[in-house]
Amino acid sequence: MKGEIPMIFHSILFKDNKDRIKEEILEAPLFFVDLNLDQIVNTITVSKREYNLKPFFYSPLHDIDIIKYRQEIIQDLENGLLLGNIKSFAQKIIVMRRYLAMIEKLYYKNHKEGWFLEAVELYCDAVSCLAHDLSLADLKSPGLLAFRVFLTNYAESPQYTSLLMETKNLKADLATVKYCVIIKDSTVKVRKYELETDYTIEVEKTFEKFKQGAVKDHSVKLSVGSGMNHVEAQILDCVAKLFPDIFKTLDDYCARNKQFLDETISVFDREIQFYVAYLDYIAKIKWVGLKFCYPQISDENKEVYDYEGFDLALANKRVSENSAIVCNDFYLRDKERVIVVSGPNQGGKTTFARTFGQLHYLTSLGFPVPGREAQLFLFDRLFTHFEKEEDIKNLRGKLQDDLVRIFAILDQATPNSIIILNEIFTSTSLKDAVFLSKKIMERITQLDLLCVCVTFIDELASFSEKTISMVSTIVPENPAVRTYKIVRKPADGLAYAISIAEKYRLTYEYLKERVKS
């Protein structure tokens, strides 16, 4: 179901003005580190610092309508052409802002005015191109449709069209200016160019026969936009005197157009990057064949599932290392609420737990999530409990510390919350751990909330009708090999041995595979 087009465009992140974030959150939620969401968000935003996108990533939505508003916008943006258009718009605005910031630091009038003209030209270029591109785009999302209406109106406004025309004319005039500088000792003469020939070409011809392969470039690199010294400024003043009409027009233009930048466009430029950044991030992961989907969301139905899901932070890392990623499925039906994960170490249990948390959080931001098909729950709060280093400062034993933290979670959790528990009670005897875990599990099942619990305690797997068991697996013929597959089956506490030559893939069959011809 598509939402209606908002009458007036407010924000590409929120349908209604009232939903906009009043005060931006600057601190990451507590569970970010445990779920490796910090890694994800850091990577996503690292090249986008100037937009200050993190507050958007720290603000999960609690309204299905807004999530859908965003999902539809992203679906439009998955059109590579449109995304490219937005990026080229953004790139121009970035450079424009850089110019405007630079002008503040410049001294000489003709110089400042020159850069101001560059900035306006870029802005006009950005706006006109985007308006043109959007007019050709096949848009479906109410958000982008509304923005297109806004932008078209703006681009056709008399105020904008005259700005555009003036800018173009001035640039063309300045491009005709060509002059000569004659330097002898401390005398500088400036006059118009009189068709003198290029001396360098003559010299190059003479030494051409020396040329062999590529050698170092010895031309001295001139820093761009490094400002202007007083000698260059004096030369420029002379040039202005040589071409007085052009420079008079430039003065007037600058005085009249100080406030050229539109506020709505400026906000759009920042907010759209929230989507662009995420799509860029998942693009290379998609490229290796991993799937993303737009999950169905409910705030009532706790039957959740995701097929071919994976840990996004891990996938990002593995893709850049060129190594494979293992996908996993899960589903909870009817009364099932708690996934108990057990099995061999290093088998991907923690990754599975993280995935469950990431999927739900990313959904609450409006993003497509790892997986072929998913239905997920709109939570009110998300809690994680991962093993922490012992902290000498809090004077409690590790076990007590664990219990204090879990108590705090259970105290705040509601039936609509999600809890991820990873290896609790490892610092006590097995008997104690079983006892304590069962107590906790009782509280969790009473709350009827969604939970993933990674544990070495097999007994928890069959705790009640609300719990299901999932197990990390190994290859039966070769127990040394981890599959990183987590499957739904009873916990069996399977032991595994190591076959050393196979571990190194040096048996006859392996080796024949490996050696390149």
Binding site: V203, N229, E232, Y504
Partner: protein, 499 residues
């Protein structure tokens, strides 16, 4: 202008990547002994020798090309050493010339380029004179082409043109630069211009005078201003300075390449002279393409052992043509390891175009050489010994390709004989099927004799010789693997016979 003394039409790239197992090869084959003999304490010779030896060629033509050049060098050692001095002189005076030069200022680039070019011209004249005097003493394709190029490129007329230009580029009458307005009204596209000739017709003169000229002066005490002014001047001469500096670079890199490529032959000369001194013979090997199987030689000795002991050592005679697998068994301390090392060394020496330590030697080339030697217990305790051996084997598996050669020295013996033999057998079988040539020194009877029983045509067995009285000859001879390695002999040597 290219030296082309290592390849017919390629430069020798000193930056090239060595095979990933270079450290292992160096350790297992004691290569540093060889490199040191080539270098005679000269770091540069060491580096070039090492690069050349470790990055062997697998095409016959290049090897023959180098062999012929090396033969010329052995015939004319003093002329070759004299040529080698020219690039050395160039690099020494270059260091002096470039010292204190502001290469980030175009005028600095310009003036020091002029200076450099003047120095190079002198050395090029020297090289030209050697070519004129001695070229006829050289026969190899490589040297013939080299001297012909020198004579053609560096004639007297050419030297005159260069010197004339070096004079003109000093701009005694001021600099004329044209420019346009770039982004932000900043001057751009600075181009050095040749002033228009003065005697133009009066109409043009008349209009030219109409165009105003604005003049300003930089105050003599305005340091900042005069710096700024010379910056603008520098922008104008930037491209000319670059063109000139690049010309200097081209000549410099020619000298550098000459130095690198000659350094290999100088290293060979050094080695040759040392071996001659201890009375060892060398010969130029006959390389056979990598897809064939050949290995036959007389008097092959371990060159590193000879260099270390500074005396003649025992040589071996073997004919293992058409064999893919050579298994060497037999007496402890009977010269098996020495033999295996001599195989590896000869292969590397042949493939870099050098002579080999043998009376005669013929072998197929290989695409890569890999060694797998038993190592001491891993001190870090990170992995068990078999683990460690297999992990090294795994690295080899990642890199080895068909038509490579693998040398195993008592590998996979860190477990009981049956298991060790099984691992060795599986690995060897797979390598053979992938057309990899294998030399395997082993005590594992199960493994060695297993192959013997199969009577395969492409497998060859060598045994370290032991005289009936337990004495060793340090020679390997053809022979079936035996169940004992005569460790008892060694035991008796250590503990005495009556025990």
């Amino acid at each position: 202008m290219k030296a082309f003394l290592m390849y017919k039409n390629l430069d020798f790239d000193l930056q090239r990547q060595l095979p990933s197992n270079e450290q292992i090869l160096t350790q297992d084959l004691e290569l540093n002994t060889l490199f040191n003999a080539m270098a005679l304490d000269n770091k540069f010779l060491f580096e070039v020798g090492k690069k050349a030896v470790l990055s062997g060629q697998s095409d016959v033509d290049t090897i023959i090309y180098r062999q012929n050049i090396l033969k010329d060098c052995l015939k004319n050692p003093s002329i070759v050493r004299e040529i080698y001095q020219i690039p050395i002189e160039s690099s020494e005076s270059k260091q002096r010339h470039w010292m204190g030069v502001f290469s980030y200022i175009a005028s600095g680039v310009l003036s020091s380029s002029i200076e450099m070019l003047q120095m190079f011209v002198g050395l090029l004249r020297k090289l030209k004179n050697i070519a004129d005097e001695h070229a006829d003493k050289f026969e190899s394709e490589g040297f013939t082409a080299f001297f012909a190029m020198i004579k053609k490129e560096l004639d007297d007329e050419y030297f005159a043109i260069v010197e004339n230009h070096l004079k003109q580029l000093k701009f005694r009458n001021g600099v004329l630069i044209s420019a346009e307005l770039g982004e932000g009204n900043e001057g751009t596209n600075y181009i050095l211009r040749k002033p228009n000739a003065k005697n133009r017709n009066w109409v043009k003169q008349f209009f030219a005078q109409k165009s105003p000229v604005y003049t300003f002066y930089i105050h003599p005490r305005d340091d900042h201003g005069s710096r700024a002014l010379s910056e603008i001047k520098d922008r104008g001469i930037n491209l000319v300075a670059n063109a000139l500096a690049q010309s200097a670079d081209h000549i410099d890199s020619f000298f550098k390449m000459l130095q690198i490529e000659l350094a290999f032959y100088i290293g060979c000369l050094n080695l040759y002279e040392q071996l001659a001194q201890i009375g060892e013979t060398v010969s130029f090997p006959l390389p056979v393409p990598a897809n064939e199987r050949s290995h036959s030689f007389h008097g092959l000795y371990d060159v590193c052992l000879a260099l270390t002991k500074k005396q003649k050592t025992v040589g071996n005679d073997v004919n293992a043509d058409n064999k893919d697998l050579v298994i060497i068994t037999g007496a402890n301390q009977g010269g098996k390891s020495t033999f295996l090392r001599s195989i590896g060394l000869a292969q590397l020496m042949m493939q870099c175009g050098m002579f080999v330590p043998a009376e005669n030697f013929c072998a197929n080339l290989c695409e890569g050489l890999f060694t797998h030697y038993r190592r001491k217990e891993d001190a870090s305790m990170k992995s068990g010994k078999l683990d460690e051996e297999l992990s090294r084997m795994s690295t080899i598996a990642d890199n080895i390709t068909s038509n490579s050669m693998a040398l195993f020295n008592e590998s996979f013996a860190a477990t009981n004989e049956r298991e060790g033999s099984e691992i060795a057998r599986q690995i060897t079988r797979a390598l053979l099927e992938k057309r990899i040539k294998v030399f395997f020194v082993t005590h594992q009877y199960d493994f060695a004799h297993g192959f013997y029983d199969k009577r395969m045509e492409n497998v060859f067995f060598l045994r370290a010789e032991r005289k009936a009285d337990g004495g060793r000859t340090y020679k390997v001879i053809e022979g079936e693997p035996l169940q004992t390695s005569y460790g008892e002999d060694v035991y008796h040597t250590v503990f005495g016979t009556d025990n």
